[in-house]
């Protein structure tokens, strides 16, 4: 920011030994000004108003209040969709994580010297990552019809993009010494990768996959909203019928499931590292 320094001259400080040092003017006012401007524009466009929150905020708790006490009798109808949700996230995460491996290798600058391949694969990964999961699920329902298949595909796509990016960043930070030694001894690229790089990245890779799985269980519950199977399906139905006590029950079961899966994956991840 050469221009900024020209407008706001750096402060000159004369040290005790006569040396002059320059302290550049702080950028904070400029950043604050920009943030303030962005906030004002956003408030205008979104119609944000604190008074509405304070005067009508209690309305937020109306539906929440109707969820309690939850409808315990409904619990029998939840297990099926819940298992569907878990299956969708397991399979989707698995497929996505496995598919991500070759792409991540092709996107690692320390393994692939070809700039064009690197660029193409990386741009592809970024573009896939920008597709919102919900949109992927919607498109999938048009291709595979309503059902869990669409949800599985959407989760696989999301996992693929996320794990792919994390994995190539992992591969790029490994210690290349062993790999180069293997290559110098005449091993092929695949052999060298499997023996020198795979052991270095495997624990972190598995940990990323598990982390993704945790999030996917939560995502899978939303996907049902667009007809992609699982808990979201009955959630949407019950919201439509305004049976909020059943909605409360579904949410409690989902909460318990997420809690268990997170505890499990947290335990395994701790073991891995």
């Amino acid at each position: 920011m050469g221009l900024y320094d020209k407008i706001f001259k750096p402060k000159k400080i004369v040290l005790a030994n006569g040396k002059v040092v320059e302290e550049k003017a702080s950028r904070t006012p400029l950043i604050l000004l920009l943030l303030l401007a962005a906030t004002i524009v956003s408030v205008r466009i979104t119609g944000f108003s604190l008074t509405t929150i304070f005067t009508r905020g209690n309305q937020f708790f109306v539906i929440l209040g109707q969820m309690f006490p939850p409808n315990v009798d409904y619990i029998g109808n939840i297990w099926g969709p819940l298992l569907d949700t878990i299956k969708m996230s397991l399979l989707g995460s698995f497929v996505g994580s496995v598919l991500a491996i070759p792409f991540a290798i092709l996107a690692s600058a320390n393994l692939i010297r070809n700039k064009i391949v690197l660029g193409v694969v990386r741009v592809f990964l970024s573009i896939v990552r920008t597709i919102p999961t919900l949109v992927a699920a919607l498109i999938a329902t048009y291709i595979w019809g309503l059902g869990t298949m669409a949800g599985t595909v959407a989760i696989a796509v999301f996992t693929f993009a996320y794990v792919g990016k994390q994995l190539y960043e992992l591969i790029e930070t490994v210690d290349m010494g062993a790999y180069e030694a293997m290559e110098a001894m005449g091993a092929g690229k695949l052999d060298a990768f499997l023996t020198a790089i795979q052991p270095q990245v495997l624990p972190a890779y598995l940990s990323v996959c598990l982390f993704c799985l945790e999030g996917n269980v939560r995502y899978a519950a939303i996907l049902g909203y667009v007809g992609a199977g699982g808990l979201g399906l009955i959630l949407n139905e019950k919201i439509g019928w305004r049976e909020y006590d059943s909605v409360g029950m579904i949410l409690i079961i989902l909460f318990g499931t997420v809690l268990i899966i997170e505890a499990l994956s947290h335990y395994i991840r701790k073991k891995l590292t």
Partner: protein, 269 residues
Amino acid sequence: MKNEIDKMYEQEPKTWYAKLLAALIVAVLMAWSMSAVQTGSTGGDGLAVAGRIVSGIFHPDTELLFNFTTSGVAYLLLETMCIAFLGTIVGAILSVPLSFLSAVNLVPKPVALVFRTFIMAIRTIPAFVYGLMFIRVTGPGPFAGLLTMSLCSIGMVSKMFIESIEDLDTKILESLDAAGCTMFQKIRYGILSQLFPDFMSTIIYRFDMNLRDATVLGLVGAGGIGAPLIFAMSAYKWNQVGAILAGLIVLILIIEVFSGKIRTKLARG
């Protein structure tokens, strides 16, 4: 020499049975999950639909894409950005007290546990349920979307905040103490300067994610680009879908590049 290598080999921990067990568990889980792969009836050939989607995405509706009125892609993207921006800020503000109260190095463990469970409960409720609740408060529109985004951000943002609070280096506070600093100075130079870059980095990252997740809001009429996108999809207007997706993807890519640059700058100081 040869013997030494053999010895080292023998010392290698024998973990093949653990690996086999893990592989077996994964295989069983996958086989079990396969039963979930059921396709419904599409009311047409899936491949043909896929072809139309792809061709729509590559031939976006340019009229919609370069329309600068309130129904054009540009305005919708601006609205989405505003929702994500304010939503992230409000969410971050709400997360600060929550994360201080759940950091185990500041409060007793039971208290931290209670607040952590509370944060998890906030995270579990899906975005569209929040959307419905907030529409009761504000009526449909971007304001409801903003509030939804802010609640959805709390989970991940406070998780990251907690991590940075727990990583605080308390030695700095001790040395400030030794230098005779007041409480205010200790907070200003000892705590804020440690937390600020981490917090900013988290907030910027979350802004990225919120921009991506903003399409969910369209489902319940909470503003942003989601609603037109979903309407266009259910009306099979793939050219419009292509236009909206193209705009969204370009915006997200640009924001990602910028936020990545700012975040690496923050990390390096």
